[in-house]
Subunit: 104 residues, 4 copies
């Protein structure tokens, strides 16, 4: 899965439906948190253990929500000009400094 | 950026810090929505126009939140056994059926 | 609307349905953010102006989501032993110090 | 705590700071989900049991987040013209129909 390729496909999909005026970073951020909460909803009444053993229906549903979150996230990055792989590398480096691994 | 490779790096990062007991799908879903809301916070008082012209500080901040959301999302998929590229292709196909493009 | 009275009614409603084991503060917090995001969903593709002129259907839907958010919030406070009116007064005082009103 | 009285105080607080242009229902919905997620953050790495035995610091923090959520929620209701007690009664009646109590 190539991120830039996927971003281009999402851009074409939106353009063909005249959705561009709606897809501001502000609105996309709202859609992102809505989809993230739909993913949370799958787990809200489950115990920690149950959350690790999903039924086929929940597993299928989870896949759909993961896809929704990812697609909104990549559209935000695309429209705001954020390079996703670079942002990830920078954040991993920040986390490694913030939480140094214990030495043996 | 290869998704499986990134998932393996995040798995190693967590294991080296003994974080595995915390990283249930339930807890990771909570972390995902928390990070998604931090991304929302960047835009909450901005107009649609302002959300399209971020300051360098906001742009940098947005990159960090995008990385955080993506890393929690990929960890959920990894620990719940969801194939991300397959889930995305399936969801794009569903969306294409649900929202057919107008013909010329 | 008396808060303590409403909290008691919600407590009785849950007890009559054997829901208590599910209503931990952790799970209720998840339900709270899910309902808050359903409220966000009403506004996600609307302009600022449109968000101020809701259709009767959206207005009715908004009322339902406001009720859901409030009921989960009061259940969290009840089960975690937080006195809501006292917490509100304390937070208003904090906000007044943090954001002093400009003098004429 | 009287809801209308509290809504009036929040309205005066905002007016004295010239915040009204920012306080559209759309923006307030974003602020609501941000504060709800800050409440979620308190519980994200805690077990169900730990979430029921908060430290004094977490208990204090929870009170602040509950107040923040409630104040944004009441501002949304105020600016969108939703009668909160009426919305709550209607939702409780809907829930009672949807989830009938088991008979003895």
């Amino acid at each position: 899965m190539d991120i830039t390729d996927l971003q281009n496909r999402l851009r074409d999909f939106a353009a063909a439906r005249d959705w561009d005026p709606y897809l501001t970073p502000k609105n996309l951020a709202m859609a992102l948190v809505v989809e993230s909460a739909e993913l949370v909803e799958i787990f809200q009444w489950k115990t920690a253990e149950e959350s690790q053993q999903l039924s086929p229906e929940d597993h299928q549903h989870l896949g759909e929500e993961i896809a929704d979150v990812l697609m909104y996230l990549l559209q935000i990055a695309d429209r705001a000009g954020v390079d996703v792989p670079m942002a990830v590398e920078r954040k991993i480096a920040m986390n490694a400094r913030k939480y140094p691994a214990p030495t043996a």
